[in-house]
C-alpha cells in the first residue's frame, strides 16, 4: 500500500439519501473507509444497510449526497467504480445450470479478463474459497453456505481494491466463518478496503477496525457512538467459588446483576473501572477465571443506539449465545 493511496479514502459517503416512494430507506449517511481497513456496517433490520450498499455498488442512484469509490463517482462513472469494486450481495443468486468453475470464468470474462486469465483466476478462487470438490458441479447443487462462498469468490474475480460484503457470514459454518475472517483480514492487509454488513456482531468485533452504525437510514454521529461506548455496561465475572465472589462484590459495594452458569453480570463504567474492579477482586482473594464484557463492543453500542432511538426493531436480533460461541 503506497502512501498516495492511503491519502484518498477508498469509500467516501457524504449526506447520501435514497427513498422509494414514501419509504425513506436511507436518509442521511456519511462515513469514510480507508484503504487496508475493515469497516463494519451495523444496523437493525430495515435500517437501510442493503440500500446503502446497492448505492455503493453502482446499482442504485442516490437521491442526494455524494459517493466516491476509489475516487470515482458511481453515478458519473460507474465503469471506473465497477473496475475497482467487488460486491457480494445478500441475495444468493447463481446461474443454476452453470458449473462453479464456469461461473467464475464467465464473471472474469465479464470483467474483461482474457480467456486464459479468467481460467487461471477461477482456479485460484476455487482454491481460495475451498470449493475444489464442487468445482465442476452445477451451482444449483450447492448448499447455502457453499453458494455464499461462490458469491464471495465472484466478488473477488477482478481483484478489487474496494470490497462490499452484504451479510457474508450468514449460512456459513463456524470453520467457514473463521476462514472468511482470515481472508478478509488478509485482503485488508493487502490494502483492500472492506465494508461488511452483518448481524453477527461478535463476528464483526474480531474482524473490523471501525464501525458505521446505521439507524433508520441515518449514520450515527461519532459523538453518539462515543457516548454509547462510555456508558455503564455489564461485565461478566466468573469465579471458582461463586459464593466468595458474591461476598467480595457486596464488600466492595458493587450491585451484582443476574447470575447464570456463565457467571455474574456486573455493571461497570468503562475499562479503567473494570481493571480496578478486577484488581480489587483478585486482591480480595477471589479465584477469577473469566472476566470480560458481557457483550462485544459493537453489540453493546448497537443495542444502546437502538434503545436510544427507541426503535424496537431488530434490537434483540443477535443472540447472546453467538457472542459466547465466537469468543472461544
Amino acid at each position: 500500500m503506497n502512501s498516495a493511496a492511503a491519502l484518498v479514502p477508498a469509500i467516501e459517503v457524504e449526506g447520501v439519501a435514497r427513498s422509494f416512494g414514501d419509504v425513506h430507506a436511507v436518509r442521511d449517511a456519511s462515513f469514510t473507509v480507508q484503504p487496508g481497513s475493515v469497516t463494519a456496517l451495523i444496523g437493525p433490520n430495515g435500517s437501510g444497510k442493503t440500500t446503502l450498499l446497492l448505492m455503493l455498488a453502482t446499482l442504485l442512484r442516490p437521491d442526494a449526497g455524494t459517493i466516491r469509490i476509489a475516487g470515482h463517482d458511481p453515478v458519473a462513472d460507474p465503469r471506473a467504480v465497477r473496475q475497482a469494486m467487488g460486491w457480494m450481495p445478500d441475495v444468493l443468486g447463481s446461474w443454476g445450470s452453470v458449473s462453479v468453475r464456469r461461473t467464475l470464468e464467465i464473471t472474469g470474462r465479464l470483467y474483461e479478463l482474457g480467456t486464459e486469465a479468467a481460467r487461471s483466476r477461477a482456479q485460484q478462487l476455487i482454491e481460495l474459497v475451498g470449493l475444489d470438490a464442487l468445482a465442476d458441479q452445477p451451482t444449483r447443487v450447492l448448499s447455502r453456505g457453499q453458494k455464499q462462498r461462490l458469491s464471495l469468490a465472484r466478488a473477488l474475480v477482478h481483484e478489487p481494491r474496494v470490497l462490499l460484503l452484504d451479510e457474508p457470514a450468514s449460512g456459513l459454518d463456524p470453520a467457514a466463518r473463521v476462514d472468511l475472517r482470515v481472508l478478509v483480514r488478509r485482503l485488508a492487509g493487502e490494502g483492500v478496503a472492506v465494508l461488511v454488513s452483518s448481524h453477527v456482531l461478535a463476528e464483526l468485533d474480531e474482524m473490523a477496525d471501525a464501525a458505521v452504525y446505521l439507524d433508520r437510514g441515518a449514520t450515527a454521529s461519532a459523538e453518539r457512538v462515543e457516548q454509547s461506548r462510555a456508558q455503564v455496561r455489564d461485565w461478566r465475572v466468573r469465579a471458582l467459588d461463586p459464593a466468595a465472589l458474591m461476598t467480595a462484590l457486596t464488600q466492595l459495594g458493587v450491585t451484582a446483576g443476574a447470575t447464570d452458569h456463565l457467571g455474574t453480570l456486573v455493571p461497570v463504567a468503562g475499562e479503567q473501572e473494570a481493571a480496578a474492579l478486577l484488581a480489587r477482586l483478585v486482591g480480595a482473594g477471589v479465584g477469577i477465571v473469566d472476566f470480560g464484557p458481557a457483550v462485544g463492543d459493537l453489540e453493546h453500542t448497537f443495542l444502546d443506539l437502538a434503545r436510544g432511538s427507541d426503535a424496537p426493531a431488530g434490537a434483540a436480533d443477535p443472540a447472546p449465545a453467538s457472542t459466547e460461541g465466537s469468543e472461544r
Binding site: L54, T58, R82, V91, L92, G93, Y111
Partner: protein, 364 residues
C-alpha cells in the same frame, strides 16, 4: 468495439448455457422435428393423390415455412419473455450489472440468445425443407425471401419478449404480454380487418345488361348463344358492400401475410399462385381492390363481341397481383420498429445506477 462484442458474446453463451435446459430442449426440438416430418409426409401424400407434378413441392415448402413460423411464435415468448425479470427474481441480474457488462450488452446478449434458440426450430425442420428443395419446384428467390423473413420475424418475437421482460417486473406477466402481442399481430389483425371492413360499408349499384334467350332463333351449339343476340333492358340493383379496401392496411402488420407477401409469387398457366405464400398473399391483394359505387356488367355487348363471360370483367390472380401493391415491407418495418423500441426500452430500464425501480421489485 472488439471488447464490446467480446462481452456480448460472453452474455450470449451464458444465456444459452443457462436457458437451454439440455434434456427438455432436446425433447422439444425433437418433437418439432417429428411434427414437421409428419406434416411433410402427409402433404406429400395428399398432393400425390391429386396427381399433381413434383413442382408442387413449392406448396409443401411454403406450408412447412408457415408451420415453423407458427411453432416459433408459440415457443419464443416462453423463452424470451422472462429473460431479464426472471434473472432479477433469481438474483442473478445485479451480479451481472456490477461487472463491466453494460445494460445494452446484457439486453442485446439475451435477445441474441433467445433468437438463436428460436432458430433451432428452423434447424429442426431443415431436413424436411431440404427434402422439398431436392424434389424441386422451389425457386431460389422464393427460398431466400421466405427464409429471410422467417428468420427476421422470429427475431422480432424474441426482441419483443426480451424487451417486455425488461419493462415489466413480473415474469409471468411479461410472458403473457408477449403472447398477447404475438396474438394481436397474428389473429388480432385478422379480426380488426374483418370487423373494420364490415363496419365501413358503402352502397353500390350494379347494372346488368343480359341477353334475351327467348328470341333470336336457334342456339349455336359451340357458344350456347342464340344466332341473333338481343339485349334485355338494363337491370339495376343496389346493395351494401364491405369496404375491405379501406382497411387492408391492417393486414400488412400480420406476420403470416408479411411472409406470404414477401415471397415472390409464381403462377401456373391459368394465372393461379402455385404455393401457399401466393394464395395467402392473394387474399391481401384482393382486399386492396377498390369497390366501385357504380358498376355495369354488360353481358350482352360482350356476347356480341364473342364471349359473354368477358362482361364480368373477371381477373386472374396474376392480374390482381399486377394491379395491386405489395405491403410486406411496411409490415416488416412496423415489426422491426416494435422490436427495436422494446429492446431500447429494456436497455433504458436495465441501466444502472437505477433512478426508479419497477414497482415492488428488489434490485438485487
Amino acid at each position: 468495439m472488439n471488447r464490446y462484442v467480446d462481452t456480448l458474446g460472453t452474455i450470449v453463451r451464458l444465456e444459452l448455457q443457462q436457458r437451454i435446459r439440455s434434456t427438455a430442449w432436446v425433447v422439444l426440438v425433437s418433437v418439432v422435428f417429428v411434427l414437421v416430418g409428419v406434416v411433410t409426409a402427409l402433404l406429400w401424400a395428399s398432393l400425390a393423390a391429386f396427381g399433381t407434378a413434383a413442382r408442387d413441392s413449392a406448396g409443401v415448402y411454403s406450408t412447412i415455412i408457415f408451420f415453423v413460423l407458427l411453432v416459433g411464435t408459440l415457443v419464443t415468448p416462453a423463452i424470451s419473455g422472462a429473460a431479464i425479470n426472471g434473472d432479477r427474481e433469481a438474483g442473478t441480474l445485479a451480479t451481472t450489472q456490477v461487472t463491466l457488462a453494460s445494460a445494452s450488452q446484457i439486453v442485446l446478449g439475451k435477445f441474441l440468445a433467445a433468437w438463436t434458440v428460436a432458430l433451432t426450430f428452423l434447424v429442426a425442420s431443415l431436413p424436411a425443407l431440404l427434402f422439398t428443395l431436392i424434389a424441386g419446384g422451389v425457386r431460389g428467390d422464393t427460398l431466400a425471401a421466405s427464409l429471410g423473413v422467417l428468420v427476421l420475424e422470429l427475431g422480432v418475437v424474441a426482441a419483443v419478449g426480451v424487451g417486455l421482460s425488461g419493462l415489466i417486473s413480473r415474469p409471468l406477466f411479461s410472458v403473457v404480454t408477449t403472447y398477447l402481442v404475438v396474438a394481436a399481430l397474428s389473429i388480432g389483425t385478422l379480426i380488426a380487418f374483418t370487423l373494420g371492413g364490415l363496419a365501413v360499408q358503402t352502397q353500390t349499384t350494379q347494372t346488368t345488361i343480359g341477353i334475351d334467350y327467348s328470341v333470336g332463333g336457334e342456339f349455336d351449339p359451340n357458344t350456347g348463344l342464340p344466332e341473333e343476340i338481343v339485349c334485355l333492358e338494363p337491370m339495376s340493383y343496389t346493395y351494401t358492400t364491405p369496404r375491405f379496401d379501406r382497411v387492408w392496411g391492417i393486414l400488412a402488420a400480420n406476420p403470416y401475410i408479411v411472409l406470404a407477401d414477401a415471397a415472390p409469387t409464381t403462377f401456373d398457366r391459368n394465372g393461379y399462385p402455385q404455393d401457399l405464400f401466393g394464395q395467402i398473399a392473394l387474399g391481401v391483394r384482393t382486399a386492396q381492390l377498390p369497390v366501385e359505387s357504380e358498376s355495369v356488367i354488360d353481358e350482352c355487348a360482350a356476347a356480341k363481341a364473342g364471349d359473354p363471360m368477358l362482361g364480368y370483367g373477371f381477373e386472374t390472380p396474376e392480374q390482381v397481383f399486377e394491379r395491386t401493391v405489395p405491403s410486406w415491407f411496411v409490415g416488416l418495418v412496423i415489426h422491426l420498429v416494435l422490436a427495436a423500441a422494446a429492446l431500447a426500452g429494456a436497455i433504458a430500464r436495465t441501466r444502472t445506477p437505477a433512478g426508479s425501480l419497477p414497482t415492488g421489485s428488489r434490485i438485487a
